[in-house]
């Protein structure tokens, strides 16, 4: 025969062991989350800056690290230009066209402000036209 577990006791156990939800109703828990994210992010940033003085970098790793800016920046930028409404879009995509204009300007001027102005200007014009 199995003993029925009183409903009150189950609810109590659920409360006691439930993963806490971070909500604005609990400012202390929000601070805990903010502090933990801050600490974790600092650890991520510090990682190789802490250990690299002690290990010599093998040539292959050195070549891989030299490719980081091109690989990461393009992976950051491309979805903001190509992905619209949840999927890749090429035709009728204002941002992709504006990004193409900005790429040409960046190539010829190597000037950050000129690239931003050209890209935003192109987007405004395209949005007004289409």
């Amino acid at each position: 025969m199995t003993a029925a577990v009183p409903a009150v006791a189950t609810a109590d156990v659920a409360r006691r062991f439930a993963v806490p939800a971070v909500t604005t109703a609990d400012p202390g828990l929000v601070w805990l989350a903010v502090a933990a994210i801050g600490l974790g992010t600092f650890a991520i940033r510090l990682s190789f800056l802490l250990v690299l003085e002690r290990v010599s970098v093998p040539p292959l790793a050195e070549r891989a690290l030299a490719l980081v800016p091109a690989a990461v920046l393009s992976a950051l930028v491309a979805p903001t230009l190509v992905v619209a409404d949840g999927g890749p879009a090429v035709w009728g995509n204002d941002r992709l066209l504006a990004g193409a204009v900005a790429t040409v300007v960046a190539w010829y001027t190597e000037d950050i402000l000129a690239t931003i102005v050209a890209g935003m200007g192109a987007l405004l014009v395209l949005q007004a036209l289409l």
């Binding site: 974790g40 510090l46 802490l50 690989a71 992976a75 950051l76 890749p88 941002r95």
Partner: protein, 226 residues
């Protein structure tokens, strides 16, 4: 060049990037307060975390009442790309004493990292410490001021001006002149393609997959050409 001149060179280099950082910081402050967080929470996020995309994700998740584990995991996975920045900039800062590397690590961002390593690759003479800090400290000050303003006053950016487009455009502006040789072009092309295909994946996996695939593609092109 003196320390002061190299710091000033960093400030001048990062200045145009601020066109994207100012509205982003205002939005980060305003979004926190809009989600019911206090101004102190908004400033705490900007000071302790200092990484815009993960701050906005945290605010959204707190607004939705997500569990502590999900909030932590999401924010840290968004920031995981900075492991690559840490590794890539470390050879330039390896001679720095630890008391300098700690604040330099705290100040590491997409923009300060990318602008610095691109400059270092072309300029042997510039002081690594002072050029980097010129970029990084400027970004930090502007980010904090804008978060406070956004939290206190709201983000009043003109709706017709696509200011959120300025951040990706500034990445594009740093990226395009920095792509050198076939290996660099392959890294950029494959990184972009894989990131687009993986854009819908949870936990920022598309970005990490794109960056890793891009690096691998660049190495393969180098090996094939050699």
């Amino acid at each position: 060049m003196t320390a002061r001149e190299d710091f000033a060179a960093g400030v001048r280099t990062v200045a145009p990037v601020l066109v994207g950082i100012v509205p982003f910081g205002l939005v980060a402050g305003a979004a926190a307060v809009g989600a019911g967080l206090s101004v102190a929470h908004a400033v705490g996020l900007s000071v302790l975390v200092f990484a815009g995309a993960s701050q906005l994700a945290t605010i959204e998740l707190v607004d939705a009442g997500a569990s502590l584990g999900v909030v932590l995991l999401t924010a840290l996975v968004i920031n995981a790309r900075m492991v690559m920045y840490s590794a890539s900039i470390a050879p330039h800062l390896a001679d720095e004493p630890l008391r300098w590397r700690l604040p330099e690590a705290y100040l590491l961002t997409d923009q300060a990292y990318a602008l610095s390593v691109v400059r270092f690759a072309r300029d042997e003479a510039v002081s690594r410490r002072w050029f980097y800090l010129g970029c990084a400290v400027t970004l930090w000050v502007v980010w904090q001021v804008c978060t406070v303003l956004g939290a206190a006053l709201g983000a009043r950016v003109p709706p017709w001006l696509p200011l959120e487009f300025a951040v990706p455009l500034s990445f594009l502006a740093i990226l395009v002149p920095a792509v050198e040789g076939r290996a660099g072009a392959a890294a950029a092309a494959v990184g972009a393609g894989v990131a687009v295909l993986g854009a819908g994946l949870p936990y920022n996996a598309g970005l990490l997959a794109g960056a890793s695939a891009g690096i691998l593609a660049g190495l393969l092109v180098e090996a094939w050409a050699a």
